[in-house]
Amino acid sequence: MIGSNTTEAHPVLALRMKKAARKGATIVVADPRKIWLTKLAKRHLQLRPGSDVWLVNAMMHVILKEGLQDEEYIREHTEDFEAVAEVVSRYTPEEAEKVTGVPAADIVATAREYATEKHAAVFYTLGITEHACAVDNIWSLSNLVLMTGHLGYESTGLNALRGQNNVQGLNDAGANPAYFPGYQPADSAEIRQKFSEAWGVEVPETPGYRLDQIMSGLHDGRIRALYLIGENPAQTEPNAHHVMEGLEHVDFLITQDLFLNDMTERLADVVFPASSFAEKDGTFTNTERRVNRVRKALPCPGEAREDWQIVVDMAKAMGGNWPEYRTPEDAWNEFADLAPFWTGIRYDRIEEVGLQWPCTDRDHPGTPYLHAPSPSRPNGKGKFYPVEYQPPIEQPDSEYPFVLSTGRTLYHYNSATMTMREEGVVQKQEDPFVEMHPDDAAALGVQDGDWVRLVSRRGELEARAAVGERVYPGLVWMALHFAQAKVNWLTHDVGDPLIGTPEYKTSAIRIEPVGSALKPAAR
């Protein structure tokens, strides 16, 4: 488990890990914090945030040095192994200890166990991807997996745990500038031709903007109108003040959501009242690529409409020439006809149990394990990508001495507009809190539960100190969810150059005691 606080981010998946541990499975947790799973873990590699590449490269160093790699798999199913072998030869466990803070002996032991166990799987979540070097982290893990041939059968592989309910489906559906539905590249003339024919209208060739480019486009005037559907970038995007300023420049803003928030109330030109998951039919795709049915249990309140209906209405109002969509199933069928990996999935087949894509025709049983028997690239070979360590962009210094890392907690859902409305749930975590080590708290003169002020180069906020040994000295941790103390005011938006994932995970900050145990509102 690397960078995955599974019991909080994917609680029911964590139950399977708990069960496996009860049945004798070995769990090794690599995480800067002493998260719950470390209790069941044989070993906890408490690495410094952002040092993942060092850790993983050092594990590969050990595997190669001791000859534990799967030579046959490397020969038959991969390419460019030598490049990685060369790079990792420079990443010794002893040096790794200095950078990551993880004892060399633990790195060696973990590498040996991972390489020699037949059923060995790697799990990671946003902990790994929300760094400026997100893609590097994934490649280094993928190198590790390829080198040991741990993929393509049960309980192996590199398992990305998708954060939210339908992130997988969102990308599969083509809500991505680089891909048409079903990961069909937007830069391919052939693919554009296919969609132009299917839709009876020329689809655009000009590359689209990614999220970070849309956000910067708000400032420099490239983006003049924005249609936001169920999103509040001023909450979820790093450097939220900056995003808010950008939104103020936009000429025309449409939002479609369940609730109003500060931003929409002030800035939206049109607000469409939308639907919750309980009020519509459709599908969500889970982190195992399983397409599950969503079913309507209730009517929408008042005049609110189902989101798919609103989009169809908008297309009509704008003069688009669309076929009639009577139900979401019509949209699904259009998608499945256009996207080969989904062609075999139809509503009548997923009434009881969802199917996992790829599923290419009506008789296809779905695909539980990707990359079996060899990696799914055109030539059937998994590619090794050598990765060098890049230090986190913002390092602590004398003015901002603490490293702030952020993440999710069990009790809330991203910007928490849904869960913060649940009194019984909020009872467990009411106020924004920041986890800090007792030594740091003592040095600052802060007691557990005191309010403190966190200041970064970009903003500041107040939170309650949660003093404990979940973090090590010098590291503090905060959750993303609290509207009154948006942690994204502190973080910065230097993204991964390739995929534009913002660096939520580490920022340099300083901490000032507020000298009060009262909530800001009560002072």
Partner: protein, 353 residues
């Protein structure tokens, strides 16, 4: 695949995969054996003896929920078992002043009705100490608890939360959060798993108190949880009169979660009914304020706004942000709107990872 074994069930030939629990093997052959302390989410336990059956060669009856089928086994579910079962049910009822508070679904009273069992008397010390907990989600009624230990086993085997324990002995025994603190002060994560396995409703959803509708008349709709990528399968239990979700349940045979849920999937559904939900379209007028309006008007204003920007600055000046909270179908249509109507590939989301 495990190999099949042959056994005899009430004089008939039967077969089952080797190692299958008798209670399941019998059910597949149409013989229903009542259980009380058994739950498919938990390890076999065999504590209450409600499910005992006769097995040839065994000196005493064996619990079907904890006995595995073996080659040549001769099983009888109907000799003197029903009488035994009735006595057992009567004894359990005798220990309870109030076996079924609040009319919640209750496997014990169902069983009593099936077997025509009634409490012969109520034990003089049947009244147990009441239990209050300041959390707003789950309550516990000691007087309904049959000490089957399902809840505690769930906390140990599945959640591993060490939040519940059995306290006291004999007539004073009850289940309480460890150290008799509130659930909120233990490692409890409010997943409601212990509640979901309780056969008697002794652990119950607090917010259910006060609904008029008997639980059995709620309408269940199976759907997928909206809160994370595990995609747990669950049933929304809706009161057909008020059209409100009253509770969320799940079944052990549901794929991905086997009947388990977390605090969000089980308890965080009230946002659906929150009074702040938007119920009318709104547009910003000259006065700078948002005003409620008709759909027709709102759609026109929105379409005109986008068309105007497109005419003045081109399609690249329009961005779309979709959402992981929406369905696949909705995201498909949104990107189609961006690409085929507006004419831009600038469609992304805040949750692309």
């Amino acid at each position: 695949m495990s190999s099949m074994v042959r056994f005899t069930l009430d004089g008939r030939e039967a077969s089952a995969p080797e190692g299958e629990l008798l209670v399941h093997a019998a059910a597949r052959h149409g013989v229903f054996i009542p259980t009380l302390c058994h739950d498919d989410k938990l390890d076999p336990y065999g504590g209450c003896r409600m499910c005992v059956v006769g097995v040839e060669g065994s000196p005493r009856p064996l619990p079907a929920c904890a006995t595995r089928v073996a080659e040549g086994m001769v099983v009888s579910t109907n000799s003197n078992v029903p009488a035994f079962r009735k006595t057992l049910t009567e004894m359990l009822l005798a220990e309870h002043l109030d076996p079924n508070p609040g009319g919640r679904p209750n496997e014990l009273t169902d069983l009593a009705a099936d077997l025509d069992a009634e409490a012969p008397f109520i034990l003089p010390d049947a009244k147990r100490k009441e239990y209050e907990d300041r959390n707003r989600l789950m309550g516990y009624t000691p007087d309904a608890c049959i000490l089957c230990n399902r809840c505690v086993r769930y906390t140990q085997e599945v959640m591993q939360c060490s939040a519940l324990s059995l306290e006291g002995r004999g007539p004073h025994a009850r289940i309480v959060p460890t150290w008799e603190r509130s659930w909120l002060d233990t490692e409890c994560e409010l997943c409601g798993g212990c509640l979901s396995v309780c056969p008697t409703g002794a652990i119950f959803e607090k917010f259910l108190e006060g609904t008029e509708q008997p639980e059995r008349e709620l309408v269940k709709t199976k759907t997928t949880c909206t809160f994370c990528g595990v995609g747990c399968q669950l049933d929304l239990n809706v009161d057909p009169e008020t059209n409100r979700i009253v509770k969320v349940t799940s079944e052990p045979h549901y794929v991905s979660n086997e009947g388990n849920l977390c605090v969000k999937g089980r308890f965080a559904f009230n946002f659906v009914h929150h009074p702040d939900r938007l119920t009318k379209p709104m547009v910003r007028r000259e006065d700078g304020e948002l005003h409620e309006t008709s759909w027709e008007d709102a759609l026109q204003v929105a379409a005109d706004g986008l068309n105007r920007v497109k005419a003045e600055h081109g399609p690249q000046a329009i961005g779309f942000l979709a959402s992981a909270r929406l369905t696949m179908e909705e995201n498909f249509l949104i990107q189609k709107l961006a690409r085929s109507v507006v004419g831009t590939n600038s469609i992304h989301s805040c949750e692309a990872t």
